[in-house]
Amino acid sequence: MMRFVDKFRDRDLARRLAYTIAAEARPEQTYTLMEFCGGHTHAIARYAIQEMLPPVLRMAHGPGCPVCVLPAARVDAAIAIAMQTDVTLCTYGDVLRIPGCRHDSLLTAKAAGADVRIVYSPADALALAQALPGRRVVFFAVGFETTTPPTAVVLLDARQHGISNFAVFCNHVLTPPAIAAIFDTPEDDRSRPCLDGVLGPAHVSTVIGSDAFARFPRDYAMPVVVSGFEPLDILQSILMLVRQINRGSAEIENQFSRGVTAEGNRIAIDLMAQTFETRETFEWRGLGFLPRSALRLRPEFAAWDAEKISPPPPAAAEEPHTACACAEILRGRANPADCRLFGAACTPDTPVGACMVSSEGACAAEWAYGRARRANEKERA
């Protein structure tokens, strides 16, 4: 049997790829590459990829963790829905601990008596609605273009089978507008990161296709390589970016050709178009309101739209911790270790900022994999 995964983790090949990167990166210049996706952030920390790279090459974390960027107001709205006595709220496990405006979460709502359940798939939420005809089952839908087609499938199923006690609270967000927002930050804005290339997300691209990123080389002269998530995928993609930068070109390249095509998954794109439409604007934690960056249900699905059934209460003012560096980290301007709260007031058990809440978040990844490395460094020093 083919063992793809093992081959793409080959230690010797990884070392040799890192050597090639070090040999080709020019010592007189710097290379700042943003990995958009939280899955990449996690893999880079887990396999200590930054440590394999030459000092001129820095990986900057991007805003591609849907749990991290979900704003407190939407968490509060989900809590308000969950607190209704006839509602069973279902969502993915890592959504439960996201802090709302007053630092409560779905987990604290559950402790206070709300019926909140973890599901692995939106199909499980729909099945629960069928099993509990006396309850209103609301699926708190979160995620980028990877989790959106499954939500579309269950919405169409709910309509086809006339399941009226099921609804979706839609918080699906879009990858390309978030990348554009970072590049569109005015030149004189301190929060604008200086980037030389972008590592594009492979799994999002299986759905929307690598061509969805073509505007970044074209409009911003920014090299993009759509990359897989195994260590060798990431190292090869970094080398491809270094080569583009060295020859002064800006193209979209697809390293994950084994799963991504230029045009994406036509079936998934069509199902999303049938069920969702683009919102004029949507709030992202750390990035603010971004135009046309999220989806809502189309009017035909109003009967399954939790926002139409019980409109969310007006958002309370968020009280961000003044020392929290998440906003800077989500824009690739700071590293987790730069934050005063990291590992002290803010840990995975007591997350203050969004980047610590999800295991895909930059701070949680640094916490999980970076401490041992730093301890080793200290010992060696």
Binding site: M1, M2, F4, V5, K7, F8, L13, R15, R16, L17, A18, Y19, T20, A22, A23, C37, G38, G39, M52, C65, P66, V67, Y92, G93, D94, V95, Y120, S121, P122, A123, D124, V142, G143, T146, T147, P149, P150, V153, H203, T206, V207, F229, L232, D233, L235, Q236, L239, Q255, F256, S257, R258, G259, V260, N265, R266, I267, A268, L271, S358, E360
Partner: protein, 77 residues
């Protein structure tokens, strides 16, 4: 939630479902997002849905290419 894993389809089931396997673990997944799912296809599973097929020839080609890109037998200083 963002975890996506490659699995192999070992049985096609009615109503757009299939049995997928990875490392001896079997799981029922939806294949409605795939064009012509077939037995022994390698697929990327995300929240219970197969999002795309993994092309073994492309995987091999990528491995060959990165082996070629890697410096021969040297270790970083």
């Amino acid at each position: 939630m963002c975890l996506a894993i490659p699995m192999r389809l070992v049985e096609l089931l009615p109503q757009g479902m299939a049995l997928a396997e990875h490392d001896g673990v079997r799981k029922e997944v939806s294949v409605v997002l795939l064009k012509e799912p077939a037995l022994d296809d390698y697929v990327i599973i995300h929240v219970g849905f197969a999002l795309s097929k993994v092309d073994p020839r492309e995987a091999r080609a990528t491995l060959d290419l990165l082996t070629e890109m890697a410096a021969p037998g040297t270790r970083p200083a």
